[in-house]
Amino acid sequence: MFKNLITESTAKSPWLFHINSGSCNGCDIELVAVLTPRYDAERFGFKLAGSPRHADIVVVSGPLTQQSLPRTLRAISQVPEPRCIVTIGSCPQSGNVFKGSYSVMAPLSKYVHVDVAVAGCTPKPEAIMDGLVQATEILKEKRKAWLEAKKNGLKDGPKAETEQEVPAAEDVPASGEEVQQ
């Protein structure tokens, strides 16, 4: 009898964990602007959580620099299921203007399945809010999928989680040549 109550409240109280992997802080202040009185995401239950263990939605901003990539992926892996990953701005999607630089490891979708991508080089707070509300819908499906996975024995969610092998920061080749698009 609790099942649908829990699924409903999964969508109603999504907690965000924000990871800044080298962003110019444009998207960071926009994300925080979403929580200010004018846009007030707390109406939908959004709250910034201090540690990944408390998070449901992981919000990533920044072009995933070489140093921050392994740390971002480790923090994302520490978020309990069901979780979904939202990227803000163009940087995590494609590396934006920094594409081709030796130290930029974007896009994030190479390493982790990205659920919602909010485009815009600093997307408007309304756009971020749309993206987050979209993410809460996906969170519900994810929870159902996760329960099925657990029911029929699959210990952890579908393996497709990480398509590519994670190049830990230490062994990334010095010149970023072949990593480039």
Partner: protein, 206 residues
């Protein structure tokens, strides 16, 4: 003992919240807001300017030869775009326009791509000018670069657009489009090579 903000806090308690209820009341972006890109393929003359000036490398073109010319599809990848509006500025024929629509959420692969295709009909080549009329120009020997390193103009390629004059740092060049005149002032020229580089038609040789 002054307690800052207590009066404001209590006053706020009874006043309306300053939240403009976004999803319930749609909110318009500012007038010149640079949002989603709108591309009108019919106006496009495929001058490739937008690709060259795009900082994020967001624009990509696919040209497929078709029987009446080449079918050109130009796609703008919004997830790489920085919305700086440079492509719209440079597009002489105003085919690209950034609208006020800020709602760019990508769920599936293709959500953030804006593309348009058009067929560029190849113009019938005017009858080849009589070969002998200006054989010497045609057969003019390739222009040899001058030995003192100063730039030399190749009149057959030059379209007298004037970019080299505009870009020349020392104002050594004067170009007149009507009289098809290209003059170099030797002593002002420092042979820095900007004109050669800038010339869209590669008509200047150093």
């Amino acid at each position: 003992m002054d307690f800052p903000f207590v009066r404001e806090a209590v006053k706020n308690l009874f006043s309306r919240s300053s939240c403009d209820m976004y999803p319930l009341k749609p909110s318009e972006a500012a007038e010149q807001y640079r949002g989603r890109i709108e591309y009108d393929p019919s106006k496009c003359i495929n001058c490739h300017f937008c690709e060259r000036v795009c900082a994020g490398g967001a624009i990509s073109v696919v040209e497929v030869p078709v029987e009446e010319g080449t079918q050109i599809t130009r796609t703008f990848d919004l997830s790489t775009c920085t919305f700086c509006n440079t492509c719209a500025d440079f597009c002489n024929t105003h085919a690209i326009k950034l609208t006020k629509d800020y709602h760019m959420i990508g769920l599936k692969e293709g959500d953030l791509l804006v593309s348009g295709t058009f067929v560029k009909v190849a113009k019938k080549k005017p009858a080849p000018p009589p070969a002998e009329a200006k054989p010497e120009e045609k057969a003019a020997p390739a222009i040899k670069p001058r030995d003192d390193g100063k730039p030399v103009q190749d009149p057959s390629k030059c379209v007298y657009c004037g970019i080299c004059a505009k870009k020349c740092l020392g104002e050594a060049l004067t170009v007149d489009r009507k009289e098809k005149l290209w003059k170099l002032d030797e002593d002002k020229c420092v042979s820095c090579g900007t004109c050669e580089e800038v010339c869209p038609k590669k008509a200047i040789i150093m």
